[in-house]
């Protein structure tokens, strides 16, 4: 047992957990005020449902030896997940139980990420059922393939903190969900604009803060590799932000705030698979390169009828793919002690990385499609025309984000 490692992992777990409320702010600011609470709740609710399911069954299915495809039930209901450092699928220097919690925070935010594609029209109950099932049927196996000693790990695919498991995985589900649920009825009209850009900036800032736990925590020790991952997590989004600013300037003459918030997320996504594997200078290159495809993916997506409302695919899918491939380009064994990428003379790594991305994408897209169709048989996936028009805050939650006139609009009945 190493007390420094334990302390760092306690902090990291809390940092990653904070990313889900941060995502709520990032997403919540980008929707119209009538759907602000509903959108934020789509992230917050994952802390509950996915968090509980992870402890009951998800952790066991993801991070036990099992087969090449999925873990087993040996840790179900946290059986054998104790305070000793032994028992987990990887060697630990801190309590196994804390490792379970740390990994749980990843599952929670991955499920919440999907919501960006279906905000402002998916029924809340159908969404909750979808992400709950998704966390078991999709997240757990994909996490097992990469981190649980599954077939992608055997093949030599490297994913430091979850570029494929978290971001490509969520983006594939988001793409399918946006198509199956369908576009917002007012999609394309002028009034579909962010209601609070400051919220989105706040969210992006808190995401960056939490991402230090996500990436540097994924070292699982408070040591040199954690420090490397920390520094690359600082530098890559910085470079993405710089390049994004110039792209904005070239396109519209103005550096936009929504653009800055998006750039930070794209840079963080891209550096995630590479964080502990590449040099800080290459992290700057990685972040800078990653800005370009995501920037243009955003522009192209907006011209299509695909209402991936908050651009989960452009930010997490494209950013995650670019990050995974560039991990196979920039990785250096002299730094990470594990493997080389293309520049250090191992071009085959790029192909392996690409295979992992493709596998996660195809499985997640296919399984998400089936899940949504099955849920669609039992209940409507979409809010009604009237609910969508009024806004999902009032119709789904009975609350409004912004009550005007000092609350004089409401009269209380009942007694204290």
């Amino acid at each position: 047992m190493n007390q420094a490692d334990t302390a760092w992992m306690l902090i990291s777990t809390a940092l990653v957990l904070l990313m889900t409320p941060a995502l709520a702010f990032f997403y919540g600011g980008l929707v119209r005020s009538k759907n602000a609470l509903n959108t934020m709740m789509m992230s917050f609710i994952s802390l509950g449902f996915v968090g509980v399911l992870w402890a009951l069954i998800g952790y066991s299915l993801a991070l036990t030896p099992g087969s090449n495809w999925i873990g087993d039930m040996s840790f179900a209901f946290l059986n054998g997940v104790g305070l000793a450092e032994t028992g987990a699928i990887v060697p630990l220097t801190f309590p196994h139980m804390l490792y379970m919690a740390f990994q749980g925070t990843f599952c929670i935010i991955t499920a919440a990420l999907i919501s960006g594609a279906i905000v402002e029209r998916m029924r809340f109950s159908a969404y909750v059922i979808f992400i709950s099932l998704w966390s078991i049927v999709v997240y757990a196996p994909v996490a097992h393939w990469v981190w649980g000693g599954g077939w992608l790990a055997d093949m030599g695919a490297w994913d430091f903190a979850g570029g494929t498991v978290v971001h490509v995985n969520a983006a594939a589900a988001a793409l399918v969900a946006a198509i199956v649920v369908g576009k917002r009825r007012e999609y394309g009209s002028q009034s579909v604009l962010p209601h609070s850009v400051p919220f989105s900036l706040l969210g992006a800032g808190l995401l960056w803060f939490g991402w230090f736990g996500f990436n540097a925590g994924s070292a699982l020790v408070a040591g040199p590799i954690a420090s490397l991952a920390f520094v690359t997590t600082m530098l890559a989004p910085a470079a993405t932000l710089v390049v994004w600013t110039f792209l904005d300037l070239m396109r519209s003459g103005k550096p936009t705030a929504v653009g800055a918030a998006t750039a930070i997320v794209v840079g963080l996504v891209a550096v995630t698979p590479a964080a502990g594997f590449i040099s800080p200078i290459n992290a700057i290159f990685l972040g800078a390169i990653a800005a370009v495809p995501s920037y243009f993916a955003l522009i192209i997506r907006a011209k299509t009828s695909l209402d991936d409302s908050l651009d989960v695919v452009a930010a997490h899918g494209v950013g995650g793919t670019v990050g995974a491939l560039l991990t196979g380009v920039f990785a250096e064994k002299s730094i990470n002690g594990l493997f080389d990428g293309a520049i250090a003379g191992n071009p085959g790594q790029v192909l392996i990385q690409g295979t992992a991305v493709l596998a996660a994408f195809v499985y997640s897209a296919g399984a998400s499609f089936i899940l949504l169709k099955l849920i669609g048989l039992v209940m409507p996936l979409r809010a009604t025309v009237e609910e969508e028009g009024t806004g999902l805050d009032i119709t789904s939650h009975g609350e409004e984000a912004y009550l005007h006139v000092g609350g004089a609009t409401a009269t209380r009945h009942g007694s204290f």
């Binding site: 007012e186 009024t390 009269t411």
Partner: protein, 109 residues
């Protein structure tokens, strides 16, 4: 000249704007307002206490048009803002005595 004051559902503003644009009416003032007519509001629940939110969010659209096209404008607004359900809103028409353009100070007829 007539002042046409319409109180519509918030999600109908774009459709009203488009309908008016077809009549070449482009100037308008839009205000977020709250109110109720026959619509009785909705029940909100905060911390387990039920509240009746009687004043619902609406948008008020004000346009000033020559008498000759006022009827067409009213028809366009009613057509664009209607859903057929309670809460679709109201249109009020008021006479306008005078109108001045601030930039030039000139009186418009």
């Amino acid at each position: 000249m007539k002042l046409i004051k319409s109180i519509v559902r918030p999600n109908k503003v774009d459709e009203v704007k488009d309908a008016l644009a077809k009549l070449n009416i482009s100037g308008m003032t839009v205000t977020e307002v709250r109110g109720h007519g026959k619509q009785k509001g909705h029940t909100a629940i905060y911390r387990g206490k039920e509240y009746n939110v009687s004043l619902l969010p609406k948008m008020e659209i004000e346009i000033v048009v020559p008498d000759a096209i006022a009827d067409d404008a009213i028809k366009a607004i009613v057509g664009a803002a209607r859903t057929g359900e309670i809460g679709d809103g109201r249109v009020f028409v008021l006479p306008v005595l005078e109108s001045y353009r601030i930039r030039t100070g000139e009186k418009e007829s």
